[in-house]
């Protein structure tokens, strides 16, 4: 998964903060009548619209703010957009100084876990029944231990890794997509067929940063080992340096050695992925649900999608790779903890999450009582159906420590280039995890 902290210029290196003079210090019992300001830091995860800009009128978090302030006139929600490239550092510095936000919006998984020291465990504020309504809490528990402290509330069911294709190109070559490829091998065979039929780039690929690798490996390992594949590697129950990982890397490498991608697949960057596909440079791309909206906007009904298929003989042939992206946490040092938690509870209502899904159209709801009718994008509709009925595997880079992920991306790019062997790659990853696990 693309991590803002790496994807954005690292020259921007940085750290973070927040003002002392909070509106009020609601410690007394009559907090209800006292003015309270709750500070929310959002690295563009809830405040942006799909045009890429901060949108203070129609984006989700601003809508939620307005609605909540109306219900609770004594509360002011103050949202600050924190640059994705600097958000981690900024939060860390502010948390050490104890002047960070009351609520932090961030990435679920490893990113949230790395801030465990600063995040209020939320279990005690929610009843068992309330928690049972929310899916994906396993992604934000300390140490990925099902009984560990709940460091955040997962927000949304997440986006999953999919293949997108242009139906017109398939139709032009008399390829029926009524039954999309069921295995990784038949997916590559389909691409080969397109190539033979004269399609220059059956799969448009841009893997300079190694992100495609992250998605494909997540899928192909998940297919073999199941939903807990990477949790188990993290906790040491299984090893990264294993036959399943090697097999996945070998399958992934074939994507580049079969001659079905553009020639510069390994050196073109993430920025070209979507734009290249939309510009008609390829018949298919490997991507994720976050691009549903622009793909649908550009191709309309001509856009088709299917989940990254599994290696043949996989034990979990229908597993989906991906999962919770966004998590909402309350800081340990918040001076308005009670009020902050009230706002988080409001955010976790089925209705509020429905609003989120409706506005973003990038991921389904993770609430048991979600209203599926808010999904209007047909690509997301298809994905939501898959999510409802198939198992899911939480990806490698959502779980592992930051430095291991950085190495993972680099190795993915290098394996695609043929400069690192799969066996060597998994060995290096194993060593990196040992070195970087807290």
């Amino acid at each position: 998964m693309i991590k803002g902290r790496i994807g954005k210029a690292i020259s921007v290196i940085c750290a973070g903060a927040l003002v002392f003079g909070l509106g009020g210090y609601a410690t007394s019992a009559n907090a209800a009548t006292k003015k309270v300001t709750i500070k929310v830091w959002d690295p563009g995860l809830m405040g942006h619209l799909l045009n890429g800009a901060l949108d203070t009128q129609t984006s989700f978090i601003y809508k939620a703010k307005k609605a909540y302030e109306k219900l609770n006139p004594n509360v002011t929600i103050e949202i600050s957009e924190i640059d994705g490239g600097v958000s981690d550092t900024q939060f860390k510095a502010a948390s050490i100084a104890k002047n960070g936000p009351d609520i932090k919006i961030g990435f679920a998984g490893g990113n949230t876990l790395s801030f465990a020291a600063f995040l209020e465990p939320l279990d005690k504020y929610f009843t068992k029944a309330e928690l049972a309504l929310i899916k994906g809490t396993g992604t934000v528990r300390a140490g990925y231990d099902p009984t560990g402290p709940l460091l955040a509330m997962p927000y949304g069911a997440g986006s999953y890794f999919y293949v997108f294709y242009d139906k017109r190109i398939m139709a032009a070559h008399n390829i029926s997509m009524a039954n999309p490829p069921k295995t990784w091998e038949s997916f590559l065979a389909l691409a080969k067929k397109l190539k033979d039929a004269g399609v220059e780039n059956p799969i448009w690929e841009t893997n300079l940063e190694g992100y495609t690798g992250a998605w494909v490996i997540a899928s192909l390992v998940g297919g073999q080992l199941g939903p807990n594949a990477f949790y188990d590697m993290y906790t040491g129950k299984t090893k990264i340096d294993s036959a399943a990982m090697i097999k996945a890397y070998e399958g992934y490498q074939k994507l580049y050695t079969s001659g079905v991608t553009n020639a510069d697949a390994t050196t073109a960057g993430q920025g070209d992925r979507l734009n290249g596909f939309l510009a008609g440079k390829g018949a298919m791309i490997i991507d994720g649900g976050w691009d549903n909206d622009p793909i649908f906007k550009a191709l309309g009904e001509n856009a088709g999608t299917f989940a990254i298929p599994q290696l043949s003989g996989s034990k979990y042939p229908k597993i989906l790779a991906g999962g919770t992206n966004v998590a909402v946490s309350v800081t340990k040092y918040s001076k308005n903890k009670a009020e902050a938690i009230k706002f988080v509870k409001y955010l976790m209502l089925a209705k509020t999450i429905d609003t989120y899904v409706k506005i973003t159209q990038t991921e389904p709801s993770n609430h048991v009582n979600a209203d599926a009718s808010v999904i209007v994008n047909p690509l997301l509709q298809a994905q939501a159906k898959d999510v409802a009925k198939n198992p899911q595997v939480y990806p490698f880079d959502n779980i592992m420590p930051g430095p291991t992920n950085d190495l993972f991306y680099k190795l993915n790019a290098s394996v695609a280039l043929g400069q690192t062997t799969p066996a060597d790659a998994v060995k290096q990853l194993q060593a990196s995890l040992a070195e970087n696990k807290q």
């Binding site: 210029a9 690292i10 020259s11 921007v12 290196i13 750290a15 981690d88 550092t89 860390k92 948390s95 050490i96 790395s114 801030f115 020291a117 600063f118 300079l208 940063e209 190694g210 020639a263 510069d264 390994t266 050196t267 073109a268 960057g269 920025g271 420590p401 930051g402 430095p403 950085d406 991306y409 680099k410 190795l411 790019a413 290098s414 280039l417 400069q419 690192t420 970087n436 807290q438």
Partner: protein, 315 residues
């Protein structure tokens, strides 16, 4: 080299303004009171810098002996340093950084070349003076993307190679080729900055010297070597020191856009490692230790450069 005027100011250790070394008469005339004025003039700057940076520097040095995530910490002595010297990745990245130093002499040469041309009022010099500095205004990501698209497999550079009957090169797939493109980008983006600084040095040359040299019949090269070069030695030293510093401390953002640091770590620079370690959840101490090691390396390079390029640094 003939002309008395030229010889008087010229040679590298000239006594007057070029080297800045004061002659004995001025030193002798400085009373203690004047020294005190000098001290007080420098004081405000020193106080501001010290009050901002004294604590942070002590903090950074202190945590380089700790294993810390910023909340809890454990004293581990020199272990962070030992780990750094033992890590093969640090060695590899260090060597990569040394390769990027290649850009510096080229930047200085081109900066000097264009500064002298502008100084001589080549056609359009007013225009070029602004234009060449423009890359410093552009963001690193724009520059990075520009070079990426120029050198990509289907980009204009490869099209040109093909039209010349050569085979296209996948520049970003091979370590040394990728470094070559990054160095090219560094040169393109950096020579205007060097030019600007060198030009400011040229501007303060006493123009009477040229008139005198002309009277004495000194040629272009003679004036270049005996008037221009000694006069801007300080600026040359400055440009070279600043560029070295930059190479070791702030390249990665630029590189990331072009190569993402790859293939593997072949275009990753030290500042990226410092960043990664300084902000990774529990390794702040190692980030500090690495920064201090880098500080040591740059210090040696800086002292060497100032010893070589000017004769009065550190006064």
């Amino acid at each position: 080299m003939t002309s008395p005027a030229v010889v008087e100011v010229g040679p590298v250790k000239g006594p007057t303004f070029a080297g800045g070394r004061k002659n004995s008469s001025s030193r002798g005339s400085l009373t203690r009171q004047k020294q005190r004025i000098g001290f007080f003039a420098a004081l405000p700057a020193f106080i501001v810098v010290a009050s901002l940076l004294f604590y942070p520097i002590c903090y950074a040095v202190w945590i380089s002996f700790l294993k810390t995530d910023g909340v809890t910490s454990k004293f581990i002595g020199l272990k962070n340093y030992v780990d750094i010297f033992a890590a093969p990745l640090v060695h590899q990245v260090f060597v990569t950084n040394l390769k990027f130093l290649v850009a510096i002499p080229i930047v200085i040469f081109l900066g000097l070349f264009s500064a002298v041309l502008l100084y001589q009022e080549i056609w359009g010099w007013r225009f070029f003076r602004i234009i060449f500095f423009l890359p410093s205004v552009l963001s690193t990501s724009v520059i990075g993307l520009m070079f990426r698209s120029a050198f990509t497999l289907n980009g204009p550079i490869n099209s040109a190679l093909i039209s010349m009957g050569l085979t296209p090169i996948n520049f970003f797939a091979r370590a040394n080729m990728a470094i070559f493109v990054v160095v090219l980008a560094l040169i393109w983006a950096g020579f205007g900055y060097a030019m600007m600084i060198l030009l400011s040095g040229l501007m303060s040359i006493d123009t009477d010297l040229f008139a005198a040299a002309e009277v004495d019949g000194a040629g272009w090269w003679q004036r270049f070597f005996y008037i221009i070069m000694p006069s801007i030695r300080q600026q040359l030293a400055f440009v070279s020191i600043i560029n070295t510093l930059y190479t070791f401390t702030s390249l990665f953002g630029f590189i990331f856009v072009m190569t993402a640091g790859g293939p593997l770590y072949s275009t990753t620079t030290l500042d990226y490692l410092v960043y990664q370690k300084a902000f990774s959840a529990f390794d702040m101490g190692q980030g500090s230790a690495l920064a201090i090691v880098i500080f040591g390396v740059i210090s040696v390079l800086t002292i060497a450069q100032s010893k070589y390029l000017k004769n009065d640094d550190g006064r």
